[in-house]
Amino acid sequence: MREPLTKLVYFAWVRERIGKPEEEVSLPSTVETVADLLRWLKARGEEYENALQYPDVIRVAINHEHVDHREKIADAREIALFPPMTGG
């Protein structure tokens, strides 16, 4: 059984467009993969729609590790959404 709350963290322009650096959400059981999560979030309001307009460019990490959009989020403690990285 999934923990009731999942921590979501946002960075760079994803953070700016959603308007907050992090939040805790209660995910419905229909949200099984990263792709499901992005679709579900996008429907939560204009700021999410704006941040996640092109889901393909959004990079995702679960528990501090990069994952692709097909990854299951079953035991995620923390899921991060961010644009492609520009460090170095």
């Binding site: 990069h66 460090g87 170095g88």
Partner: protein
């Protein structure tokens, strides 16, 4: 790979001292024949950039760079490997990132440093926002296709 080489990874706001970081990998030993350093600096983009603001993902940034460094230690016979990445506001001319690779032989040191930089660019969770000299709202720097290609070349090379 020499046993027991642990990478040094630091994420910090303050500047780093390249000579001190080289010394950390070479002092008191005589088995290091080659040290390659890479330092990345903030450019002013022909005078238009006032500063870069580097945002990072605390916790993951350190973990991800450590994973990349371990991968390098597995691929090349290194005697030491250091990666330091700064965050916060950085002015043109200032340092952003440092990689130091030490080995008995030069090819390993060159390749490991180059590999680490390519992977830092495309996998370390850092994002750069521009502050413009004219005061206009800065843009987030776009990821470069070239950086993904640079990282990808290490997949087929061995």
């Amino acid at each position: 790979m020499p046993a027991g080489v642990a990478p040094i990874v630091r994420i910090q706001a303050e500047d780093f001292d390249i000579a001190a970081e080289i010394g950390r990998l070479t002092e008191g030993r005589a088995d290091v024949g080659a040290v390659v350093t890479f330092s990345g600096l903030c450019r002013d983009e022909a005078g238009t950039l006032a500063a870069l603001e580097l945002e990072h993902y605390p916790g993951m940034a350190e973990a991800e760079i450590a994973r990349i460094a371990e991968e390098a230690l597995g691929r090349w016979p290194l005697t030491g490997l250091t990666a330091i990445h700064r965050f916060g506001k950085i002015a043109p001319g200032e340092n952003i990132v440092l990689v130091v690779a030490a080995s008995a032989h030069r090819q390993a040191a060159f390749e490991a440093a180059s590999f680490l930089m390519d992977y830092l660019k495309s996998r370390a969770p850092f994002w750069k926002k521009e502050h413009r000299v004219d005061g206009s709202e800065g843009n987030w720097v776009d990821a470069k296709e070239a950086d993904d290609q640079a990282a990808a070349r290490w997949k087929s090379s061995r």
